[in-house]
Symmetry: D2
Subunit: 246 residues, 4 copies
């Protein structure tokens, strides 16, 4: 099995090494990741300048671009054969609910999915890399289950793993994305010259964290697996719009 | 009516001025846009540095950040009262099918939608600003229809306008997003020092451009309006995943 | 006379327009400036990516690069004939003493000087654009004196102008660069996530501001003109080094 | 002896490790370097955003800023006691003649010199890290000679080392900076969308490479050591200017 690995925390992140180490024994891996931390980069693609590909002493490729750039270039410029699977992560911090829209980790997987390939994004629920070995083992378990064989079409899975020891973790459950309340306000501050500056504020609290959501499952200690799709059409509103435009 | 206007082409783009000029007679407008071209920035948020807000001589605010940053800061740091509507654009070039995932124009509108407000993204199908006045008039028409009154919930509309004169344009039709084939390969080149560089390649050709899609409608000269949603959960695959994990 | 104009505050800065407006009646001007504020950029050149040239509606060219990039590209890629003079500014804030090392305004002029052309950098002593019209008139006066005819070789002049009305300003005097005490310490602060951040601190106080220096002249209300050179060899220490290495 | 080490090729560059490894046995070293390659950054300081300090697993600090930022923050925010010496490099490629103006390697040393401390910049004449171990041994030799004791004032030395084995290298000689002809023209190219792009061209050929220059010494296989100063006042032209302004 050939696996392409990327992330959004950059090629030096512990989560990337842990994922690569966990998968190397069971697959032929290629790692292509951003040169630096690109958290919050969403599906951003670099269109106004060319990108460069470098290779670190451990064999990892790194690119001065976004997670989407990395997977795009890996698939069409570095790998001579398409991988069987694309994995992204392990991200430092959760990508649940509406956060998935902003996530570079999910975006890396999404770029692979857009190329018609199965893809899985892995994130730890809490920041700080606590119990990373446990998360890496979970990632390997999920890859080994060959879930792609259960789907008629390719898939895009979003996996969030509580920072618990492997023994304490509860089994993976299928979930839907929860929903958050709107983000908190920007934080105004002043630079040393007295000029006003603005920091993007934290995301909002949980609004829909009911049973069946990723929020709910991970709070109980389960690994949550949410299958994602990328068609943003709002089919329910399409009917209403037809009436309104008639 | 209070309207917040943003875009991803930057605060100096002709499409932004055209949109502001078209809406100023019918609404109290506030313009907050990126300081430079941020095409392809998707929902990217700037989390690793603070942002600055400037004001141009024409009253437009501009920010050294992404489209999502602009709307986020406008809503929680600049405007004292929430707007009734957020509009984004008019973008230079289409945002149809899967492209919407990468679009900063759609992302600006999406950020407003996430704050619980109705939002509309406007794009011209072709680049080059041809027939921009016509597109601006269409934007005003659509805003004046007060479509928000037809929906029980707030909405996120993605409007693509063929570059035709106002007389030649066909009426707006409700559409779903089409689909593209996978992107073309990266383009390898060399810098003057002989180092290999990579340019992200063009997007793929149309795969699903059948009746009902934005591709189809605009090809016939219609203005296409696609209602968007942002829940990426793949409900159809959720059932299959339940079986696979059982 | 053909004059190339650049700056480091960006192509939209009031100081650039004021300088261009003052010189347009007496010369054939070409303006090529950075797309955004590049204060503190020193002689930085962009070597790892290509640059783009844009043109604003007022005819000014702007480039997504540093002041040195702008002059470099103007001289070898935009202007078909070498200019007779390169001017930079009018900068918002002084470039005196050791500050000249960091200054992008001086760097733009230096780049022209390195191409064998006479060059003048203009700065206002105080920030805030106070008495800008007066500074622009001084700049024109100095250009009209055709000082290049007094020098056997080309020159690089560093002009600092007190923010005074034209009537209050005292005549230009030739000066040497003063010296500052070392910079103040970085300013530690915290971002909203509690992570430590560092702001570069303000420059140090005046150490050599004695008679003959730019600090001294401008404090008395004079326009200071310092001829600069770019050979950093420390000739006095060269002898000592010879002994030490013998 | 306490030594602060920085560079402009970034904290992962082989030249930095080689320098640190060579000096660690003879001094108490602190390494603070940019997070990525900042070649050509000159004395640029980051004034419009705060900087972050990270620490790699090998103990090296790295900063998302320029070489000057790194030394500035190291001296006033990281080190509790001033170092006895600041060294920068080993740079990949020469910093001789007028190039020193653009060099981030020399700038890192210059920042230390501006804080009143002795500083040495080391560069290899050719790119590619050939004979790096030899260059590192030379750097250690020079540090061990305690040249600071031969100077009444602190110093700023610019050392260029031919890529030769230690046995083949000729002894260090004191030199002045040579001079180059003006840079070559920008290189115009086109991006895949057909838009014109510009690459900064290579530096010019040697104009003054006569006896006594760094160009001359290194061409003969000597290590060149040029003492630098930072007062840009052109004393010879000051007299002429006095006449012209009289």
């Amino acid at each position: 099995m050939k696996i392409l690995i990327s992330n959004d925390d950059g090629y030096l992140a512990p989560g990337l090494s842990a994922l690569a180490d966990a998968l190397a024994p069971i697959a032929d891996i290629t790692v292509v990741a951003p040169d630096s931390n690109r958290s919050g980069s969403s599906n951003s693609l670099t269109l106004d300048r060319p990108l460069s590909v470098f290779q670190a002493s451990n064999g990892f490729y790194f690119i001065n671009g976004t997670p989407s750039d990395c997977v795009h270039i890996a698939l069409t410029g570095i790998m001579t054969e398409a991988p069987d699977l694309i994995v992204s992560g392990i991200n430092q911090g959760q990508n649940m609910g509406d956060d998935t829209l902003y996530s570079g980790t999910v975006a890396a997987a999404t770029e692979g999915y857009l190329f018609g390939l199965p893809a899985i994004a892995f994130s730890q629920v809490e920041k700080g890399w606590g119990e990373l070995a446990s998360a890496a083992r979970v990632a390997r378990d999920i890859v080994e289950r060959r879930l792609e064989e259960s789907f008629s079409d390719h898939f895009l899975l979003n996996v969030n793993i509580p920072n618990l020891s492997y023994a304490q973790l509860k089994p993976p459950v299928p979930t839907r994305l929860g929903k958050r309340h709107q983000s908190e306000a920007v934080i105004k501050a002043y630079d040393p010259q007295g000029r006003e500056i603005y920091w993007i504020g934290p995301c909002g609290g949980q609004k829909d964290a009911g049973e069946g959501t990723d929020f709910h499952a991970t709070a109980l200690g389960h690994v949550s697996i949410t299958p994602l799709q990328i068609d943003l059409t709002h089919n329910a509103q399409l009917a209403g719009l037809k009436k309104a435009l008639a």
